[in-house]
Protein backbone atom coordinates (compact mmCIF):
# COMPACT_ATOMS: atom_id res chain seq x y z
CA UNK A 1 0.00 0.00 0.00
CA UNK A 2 1.15 3.53 -0.73
CA UNK A 3 1.21 4.73 2.87
CA UNK A 4 3.51 1.96 4.10
CA UNK A 5 5.95 2.45 1.19
CA UNK A 6 6.47 6.09 2.22
CA UNK A 7 7.22 5.00 5.78
CA UNK A 8 10.18 2.99 4.53
CA UNK A 9 11.50 5.49 2.03
CA UNK A 10 12.25 8.29 4.51
CA UNK A 11 14.43 6.27 6.93
CA UNK A 12 16.10 4.57 3.98
CA UNK A 13 16.89 7.93 2.40
CA UNK A 14 18.26 9.25 5.69
CA UNK A 15 20.35 6.12 6.16
CA UNK A 16 21.58 6.32 2.56
CA UNK A 17 22.73 9.92 2.94
CA UNK A 18 24.37 9.06 6.26
CA UNK A 19 26.28 6.21 4.61
CA UNK A 20 27.25 8.59 1.81
CA UNK A 21 28.71 11.04 4.31
CA UNK A 22 30.66 8.25 6.01
CA UNK A 23 31.99 7.04 2.65
CA UNK A 24 33.29 10.52 1.88
CA UNK A 25 34.77 10.67 5.37
CA UNK A 26 36.70 7.44 4.78
CA UNK A 27 38.54 9.10 1.95
CA UNK A 28 39.58 12.12 4.02
CA UNK A 29 42.62 11.98 6.23
CA UNK A 30 42.49 14.64 8.96
CA UNK A 31 45.92 13.66 10.23
CA UNK A 32 47.33 15.31 7.11
CA UNK A 33 47.30 18.86 8.29
CA UNK A 34 46.67 21.39 5.51
CA UNK A 35 49.43 23.91 5.42
CA UNK A 36 48.64 27.60 5.88
CA UNK A 37 51.85 28.40 3.99
CA UNK A 38 50.50 27.49 0.58
CA UNK A 39 50.38 30.51 -1.74
CA UNK A 40 52.53 32.52 0.65
CA UNK A 41 56.19 33.47 0.52
CA UNK A 42 58.67 30.89 1.65
CA UNK A 43 59.82 31.49 5.27
CA UNK A 44 63.19 33.18 5.59
CA UNK A 45 66.17 31.06 6.62
CA UNK A 46 69.95 30.94 6.40
CA UNK A 47 71.29 27.42 6.76
CA UNK A 48 74.67 25.75 6.20
CA UNK A 49 75.16 23.38 3.30
CA UNK A 50 75.78 19.77 4.35
CA UNK A 51 78.79 19.31 2.07
CA UNK A 52 80.21 22.79 2.79
CA UNK A 53 79.19 24.08 6.23
CA UNK A 54 80.99 27.41 5.71
CA UNK A 55 78.55 28.25 2.95
CA UNK A 56 75.07 29.42 3.93
CA UNK A 57 72.00 29.34 1.73
CA UNK A 58 68.91 31.54 1.84
CA UNK A 59 65.69 31.26 -0.20
CA UNK A 60 66.89 34.20 -2.34
CA UNK A 61 69.71 32.01 -3.67
CA UNK A 62 67.14 29.65 -5.15
CA UNK A 63 64.90 32.07 -7.02
CA UNK A 64 64.45 31.85 -10.76
CA UNK A 65 63.33 28.28 -11.19
CA UNK A 66 60.74 25.99 -9.64
CA UNK A 67 62.32 23.84 -6.95
CA UNK A 68 61.36 21.25 -4.40
CA UNK A 69 62.28 21.33 -0.73
CA UNK A 70 62.36 17.80 0.61
CA UNK A 71 62.57 17.46 4.38
CA UNK A 72 64.52 14.31 5.23
CA UNK A 73 66.77 12.66 7.80
CA UNK A 74 68.96 9.58 7.97
CA UNK A 75 66.86 8.24 10.85
CA UNK A 76 63.63 8.48 8.84
CA UNK A 77 62.50 5.15 7.39
CA UNK A 78 59.84 6.63 5.10
CA UNK A 79 62.49 8.88 3.56
CA UNK A 80 64.26 5.73 2.46
CA UNK A 81 61.00 4.52 0.93
CA UNK A 82 60.56 7.59 -1.28
CA UNK A 83 64.23 7.89 -2.17
CA UNK A 84 63.93 6.07 -5.51
CA UNK A 85 61.17 8.43 -6.59
CA UNK A 86 63.28 11.45 -5.69
CA UNK A 87 66.03 10.10 -7.93
CA UNK A 88 63.46 9.76 -10.71
CA UNK A 89 62.31 13.36 -10.17
CA UNK A 90 65.91 14.52 -10.26
CA UNK A 91 66.48 12.69 -13.53
CA UNK A 92 63.39 14.37 -14.96
CA UNK A 93 65.19 17.66 -14.49
CA UNK A 94 63.77 18.89 -11.20
CA UNK A 95 65.85 20.73 -8.64
CA UNK A 96 65.44 19.20 -5.22
CA UNK A 97 66.98 20.83 -2.18
CA UNK A 98 67.14 18.59 0.85
CA UNK A 99 66.38 19.98 4.30
CA UNK A 100 68.28 17.70 6.62
CA UNK A 101 66.07 17.79 9.69
CA UNK A 102 67.34 17.14 13.23
CA UNK A 103 70.09 14.91 11.99
CA UNK A 104 73.82 14.45 12.46
CA UNK A 105 76.02 15.57 9.56
CA UNK A 106 78.05 12.37 9.67
CA UNK A 107 74.95 10.16 9.52
CA UNK A 108 73.38 12.30 6.80
CA UNK A 109 76.46 12.19 4.58
CA UNK A 110 76.78 8.44 5.08
CA UNK A 111 73.12 7.97 4.14
CA UNK A 112 73.53 9.94 0.91
CA UNK A 113 76.71 8.12 0.06
CA UNK A 114 75.07 4.74 0.64
CA UNK A 115 71.76 5.31 -1.13
CA UNK A 116 72.61 8.06 -3.61
CA UNK A 117 72.09 11.81 -3.54
CA UNK A 118 68.95 13.08 -5.32
CA UNK A 119 69.55 16.61 -4.08
CA UNK A 120 70.99 19.69 -5.70
CA UNK A 121 72.32 20.21 -2.16
CA UNK A 122 71.24 19.50 1.37
CA UNK A 123 70.94 22.25 3.93
CA UNK A 124 71.15 21.42 7.60
CA UNK A 125 68.45 22.24 10.13
CA UNK A 126 70.04 20.68 13.17
CA UNK A 127 67.61 21.86 15.85
CA UNK A 128 64.47 21.69 13.71
CA UNK A 129 63.52 25.34 14.21
CA UNK A 130 63.47 26.14 10.51
CA UNK A 131 61.25 23.08 10.20
CA UNK A 132 58.84 24.68 12.68
CA UNK A 133 58.75 27.78 10.44
CA UNK A 134 57.75 25.52 7.58
CA UNK A 135 55.12 23.72 9.65
CA UNK A 136 57.01 20.42 9.48
CA UNK A 137 55.51 17.79 11.76
CA UNK A 138 55.99 14.39 10.13
CA UNK A 139 58.80 13.88 7.69
CA UNK A 140 59.25 13.25 4.84
CA UNK A 141 57.53 16.37 3.62
CA UNK A 142 58.02 17.99 0.25
CA UNK A 143 57.31 21.60 -0.69
CA UNK A 144 56.91 22.80 -4.26
CA UNK A 145 58.24 26.36 -4.57
CA UNK A 146 57.92 28.48 -7.69
CA UNK A 147 60.46 30.76 -9.34
CA UNK A 148 59.36 33.72 -7.21
CA UNK A 149 59.76 31.99 -3.90
CA UNK A 150 56.07 31.28 -3.32
CA UNK A 151 55.15 27.93 -1.81
CA UNK A 152 52.73 26.30 -4.22
CA UNK A 153 52.06 22.95 -2.64
CA UNK A 154 53.01 20.84 0.34
CA UNK A 155 53.18 17.10 0.11
CA UNK A 156 52.97 15.31 3.46
CA UNK A 157 54.38 11.83 3.69
CA UNK A 158 56.54 9.76 1.41
CA UNK A 159 56.09 10.04 -2.34
CA UNK A 160 55.63 6.37 -3.10
CA UNK A 161 52.65 5.52 -5.26
CA UNK A 162 51.95 6.38 -8.86
CA UNK A 163 49.24 8.73 -7.64
CA UNK A 164 51.79 10.52 -5.43
CA UNK A 165 54.14 10.99 -8.37
CA UNK A 166 51.30 12.22 -10.55
CA UNK A 167 50.35 14.77 -7.96
CA UNK A 168 53.86 16.05 -7.46
CA UNK A 169 54.41 16.36 -11.20
CA UNK A 170 51.10 18.20 -11.54
CA UNK A 171 52.13 20.61 -8.78
CA UNK A 172 55.48 21.24 -10.44
CA UNK A 173 53.79 21.82 -13.78
CA UNK A 174 51.31 24.23 -12.22
CA UNK A 175 54.12 26.11 -10.48
CA UNK A 176 56.02 26.40 -13.75
CA UNK A 177 53.06 27.63 -15.77
CA UNK A 178 51.35 29.92 -13.31
CA UNK A 179 53.31 33.12 -13.21
CA UNK A 180 51.37 35.07 -10.62
CA UNK A 181 49.61 34.01 -7.46
CA UNK A 182 45.90 33.77 -8.14
CA UNK A 183 46.24 33.83 -11.91
CA UNK A 184 43.19 32.62 -13.79
CA UNK A 185 44.75 29.79 -15.78
CA UNK A 186 44.88 26.45 -13.98
Amino acid sequence: MKASAARFILPLALFGSFIGLLAIGLKLDPSKVTSPLIESTIPQFSLPVLSDPQRHVTPQDLKGKVWLLNVWASWCASCRAEHANLIVLKKEGNQIVGLNYKDKDVAAKAWLKKWGDPYLMSIVDANGLVGVDFGVYGIPETFVIDANGIIRDKFIGAIISLADMKRIRASIYAAEHQREVGSASK
Partner: protein
Protein backbone atom coordinates in the same frame (compact mmCIF):
# COMPACT_ATOMS: atom_id res chain seq x y z
CA UNK B 1 50.19 -25.97 56.25
CA UNK B 2 53.55 -24.98 54.89
CA UNK B 3 53.33 -24.20 51.16
CA UNK B 4 55.02 -26.82 49.02
CA UNK B 5 58.26 -26.42 47.11
CA UNK B 6 56.58 -25.42 43.88
CA UNK B 7 54.72 -22.54 45.48
CA UNK B 8 57.75 -21.30 47.39
CA UNK B 9 59.77 -21.32 44.17
CA UNK B 10 57.07 -19.43 42.34
CA UNK B 11 57.07 -16.70 44.98
CA UNK B 12 60.83 -16.27 44.71
CA UNK B 13 60.72 -16.19 40.91
CA UNK B 14 58.02 -13.53 41.03
CA UNK B 15 60.08 -11.43 43.43
CA UNK B 16 63.06 -11.70 41.10
CA UNK B 17 61.02 -10.74 38.05
CA UNK B 18 59.62 -7.72 39.86
CA UNK B 19 63.10 -6.54 40.82
CA UNK B 20 64.32 -7.06 37.26
CA UNK B 21 61.37 -5.08 35.92
CA UNK B 22 62.15 -2.19 38.23
CA UNK B 23 65.83 -2.24 37.28
CA UNK B 24 65.01 -2.26 33.58
CA UNK B 25 62.75 0.75 34.01
CA UNK B 26 65.32 2.80 35.94
CA UNK B 27 66.98 4.35 32.83
CA UNK B 28 63.69 6.11 32.11
CA UNK B 29 64.55 8.45 34.97
CA UNK B 30 67.06 9.94 32.54
CA UNK B 31 64.24 11.02 30.26
CA UNK B 32 62.45 13.00 32.91
CA UNK B 33 62.96 16.69 32.36
CA UNK B 34 62.89 19.32 35.02
CA UNK B 35 60.09 21.81 34.37
CA UNK B 36 61.29 25.24 33.24
CA UNK B 37 62.01 27.91 35.83
CA UNK B 38 60.17 31.20 35.74
CA UNK B 39 60.99 34.44 37.48
CA UNK B 40 57.49 35.72 36.83
CA UNK B 41 54.73 33.43 38.20
CA UNK B 42 52.20 34.87 35.78
CA UNK B 43 54.39 33.77 32.88
CA UNK B 44 54.50 30.31 34.37
CA UNK B 45 50.72 30.09 34.56
CA UNK B 46 50.38 31.33 30.99
CA UNK B 47 53.00 28.89 29.74
CA UNK B 48 51.24 25.86 31.17
CA UNK B 49 47.86 27.15 30.07
CA UNK B 50 49.09 27.57 26.49
CA UNK B 51 50.50 24.06 26.47
CA UNK B 52 47.02 22.70 27.16
CA UNK B 53 45.57 24.72 24.30
CA UNK B 54 48.00 23.58 21.62
CA UNK B 55 47.81 20.22 19.96
CA UNK B 56 50.70 17.87 19.40
CA UNK B 57 50.68 17.24 15.66
CA UNK B 58 52.43 13.92 15.97
CA UNK B 59 50.14 12.40 18.61
CA UNK B 60 47.18 14.36 17.44
CA UNK B 61 44.80 13.65 20.26
CA UNK B 62 47.23 14.95 22.86
CA UNK B 63 48.10 18.48 23.87
CA UNK B 64 51.65 19.82 24.01
CA UNK B 65 51.37 19.44 27.77
CA UNK B 66 50.81 15.68 27.48
CA UNK B 67 52.82 14.58 24.49
CA UNK B 68 56.25 13.00 24.68
CA UNK B 69 56.88 13.42 20.96
CA UNK B 70 60.00 15.14 19.69
CA UNK B 71 58.06 17.84 17.87
CA UNK B 72 56.04 18.53 21.03
CA UNK B 73 59.32 19.19 22.83
CA UNK B 74 60.38 21.61 20.10
CA UNK B 75 57.06 23.43 20.19
CA UNK B 76 57.14 23.60 23.99
CA UNK B 77 60.56 25.18 23.70
CA UNK B 78 59.26 27.70 21.18
CA UNK B 79 56.30 28.51 23.40
CA UNK B 80 58.66 28.99 26.33
CA UNK B 81 60.88 31.27 24.31
CA UNK B 82 57.93 33.36 23.15
CA UNK B 83 56.48 33.64 26.66
CA UNK B 84 59.83 34.74 28.03
CA UNK B 85 60.22 37.27 25.21
CA UNK B 86 56.98 38.87 26.34
CA UNK B 87 54.61 37.76 23.58
CA UNK B 88 50.92 37.82 24.45
CA UNK B 89 48.82 34.66 24.36
CA UNK B 90 47.21 35.88 21.16
CA UNK B 91 50.59 36.47 19.54
CA UNK B 92 51.77 33.00 20.47
CA UNK B 93 48.60 31.38 19.13
CA UNK B 94 49.01 33.40 15.91
CA UNK B 95 52.63 32.28 15.66
CA UNK B 96 51.57 28.64 15.85
CA UNK B 97 48.57 28.88 13.55
CA UNK B 98 50.60 30.80 10.96
CA UNK B 99 52.86 27.77 10.71
CA UNK B 100 50.54 24.85 11.35
CA UNK B 101 47.06 26.14 10.68
CA UNK B 102 43.99 25.98 12.88
CA UNK B 103 44.50 22.29 13.54
CA UNK B 104 47.19 23.09 16.08
CA UNK B 105 44.51 24.53 18.33
CA UNK B 106 43.30 21.72 20.50
CA UNK B 107 39.74 23.05 20.60
CA UNK B 108 38.56 23.97 17.14
CA UNK B 109 38.01 27.72 16.93
CA UNK B 110 34.49 29.03 16.69
CA UNK B 111 34.54 30.32 13.12
CA UNK B 112 32.19 30.25 10.17
CA UNK B 113 33.97 27.15 8.93
CA UNK B 114 33.53 25.25 12.17
CA UNK B 115 29.99 26.40 12.88
CA UNK B 116 28.59 23.09 11.65
CA UNK B 117 31.04 21.20 13.86
CA UNK B 118 30.03 23.08 17.00
CA UNK B 119 26.30 23.34 16.37
CA UNK B 120 25.84 20.08 14.48
CA UNK B 121 24.94 17.87 17.44
CA UNK B 122 22.56 20.49 18.83
CA UNK B 123 21.00 20.81 15.41
CA UNK B 124 20.69 17.05 15.12
CA UNK B 125 18.99 16.87 18.49
CA UNK B 126 16.60 19.61 17.45
CA UNK B 127 15.71 17.86 14.19
CA UNK B 128 15.06 14.53 15.89
CA UNK B 129 13.04 16.13 18.70
CA UNK B 130 10.93 18.01 16.16
CA UNK B 131 10.34 14.82 14.23
CA UNK B 132 9.22 12.96 17.34
CA UNK B 133 6.91 15.74 18.47
CA UNK B 134 5.33 16.18 15.04
CA UNK B 135 4.81 12.48 14.56
CA UNK B 136 3.09 12.13 17.91
CA UNK B 137 1.26 15.43 18.14
CA UNK B 138 -2.08 13.76 17.69
CA UNK B 139 -1.41 11.62 20.70
CA UNK B 140 -0.09 14.52 22.81
CA UNK B 141 -3.08 16.76 22.06
CA UNK B 142 -5.94 14.34 21.97
CA UNK B 143 -7.76 13.41 25.10
CA UNK B 144 -8.07 9.77 24.47
CA UNK B 145 -11.10 8.20 26.03
CA UNK B 146 -10.21 4.99 27.68
CA UNK B 147 -13.25 2.85 27.25
CA UNK B 148 -14.03 0.60 30.13
CA UNK B 149 -13.72 -3.14 29.56
CA UNK B 150 -16.72 -4.99 28.27
CA UNK B 151 -18.06 -7.82 30.36
CA UNK B 152 -16.59 -10.39 27.98
CA UNK B 153 -13.14 -8.75 28.16
CA UNK B 154 -13.41 -8.55 31.97
CA UNK B 155 -14.18 -12.25 32.23
CA UNK B 156 -11.31 -13.14 29.87
CA UNK B 157 -8.90 -11.01 31.89
CA UNK B 158 -9.98 -12.53 35.18
CA UNK B 159 -9.65 -15.98 33.79
CA UNK B 160 -6.07 -15.40 32.63
CA UNK B 161 -5.03 -13.53 35.74
CA UNK B 162 -6.33 -16.15 38.09
CA UNK B 163 -5.03 -19.14 36.20
CA UNK B 164 -1.40 -17.91 35.89
Amino acid sequence: MRPNIKERLAVQVNKLLLIMLIIICLPMIGFAQAPPEFSDPQQEVRYWQLLTELRCLVCQNQTLADSGADLAGDLRQETLRLVREGATDEQIIDYMTARYGDFILYSPPFKAKTLLLWLGPLLGLFVVATFIVLKNRRRFLANEQIEPLTKYERNLLDKHLLTD
